[in-house]
Symmetry: C2
Subunit: 136 residues, 2 copies
DNA sequence: GTAGAAGTTGAAGCGCACTCCAGGTCAACC
DNA sequence: GGTTGACCTGGAGTGCGCTTCAACTTCTAC
């Protein structure tokens, strides 16, 4: 299967502008062109773009993605370095998850606090509405 | 306890410039000033800054942090809305963690792949070093 | 054969969250 | 009382990751 840039954008969830941008900065090897000079993306291109998207989602900086891409072009002998990049990045992702979890604890604590405050407020309002009960 | 801007920066892990920036954009109520016009941060200021830092770490956009800050200035009657903001943001954080986990799976899969490739490479190198074994 | 949609290029622009700079004030120490 | 260093202000600059623009070409359908 082959895809126009619009189809590739649709399938990867990236914009056509981003596809051209990724090509320009060297994340993507220039795809084939049709007789009219238009880009023609292959399934392999899309697979690679999907993987890039995963890396982006995890916050890998573009310069690191570029290094990875360049190594890939240079073939199987760069597998060691590529693995190393991914292992390093995985450590970053794990750290990030741990960080988010710890912030989540704070968030939960705060939300519980607000629950308490709001319950107290509601109780005071009920008391104000039925003042005869207030001293009971 | 009170703190100079440098001490506040040190304790919160933010830069001096960022502290002034946060104040300028309304994340932080202008702290007290000493006789020479210098900022004097209180413990309450630092506590608030710590919380802001948590929110930033979880990727809350500054415009949302600002909304939260403005509500806080307006007092206890805004507790409901503030809780709502935190609850919404908590959902975002949970989603983000799930996303990272799913990317982590891809990362692990890729790394396993590289392990396999590298093992095969090593095996071929051993075979090349002792060719008489290659046919055994 | 002409309109309109989709594609091309190089370059400029944007939103975010800071970060840095120039030029000045103030307080503390020698 | 002179120097040093921390702090002040308003405003400009930065890096990242796109996004938009202008001007042009090409294909498709009527």
């Amino acid at each position: 299967m082959t895809y126009s840039i619009a189809q590739a954008a649709e399938r990867t969830g990236l914009s056509v502008d981003t596809l051209r941008y990724y090509e320009r900065i060297g994340l993507l090897e220039p795809p084939a062109r049709d007789s009219g000079g238009r880009r023609v993306y292959s399934d392999a291109d899309l697979t690679w773009l999907d993987f890039l998207t995963k890396l982006r989602l995890t916050g890998m900086p573009i310069r690191m993605m570029r290094e990875y891409a360049q190594l890939r072009y240079r073939g199987v002998m760069t597998a060691g370095r590529r693995k190393q990049l991914l292992v390093e990045h995985r450590a970053d992702v794990l750290e990030r998850i741990a960080e988010l979890r710890s912030c989540l604890d704070v968030l939960n604590y705060k939300i519980d606090n607000y629950d308490q405050i709001l319950r107290d407020q509601a109780a005071r309002e009920r008391a104000a509405a039925t003042p005869e009960e207030a001293t009971a």
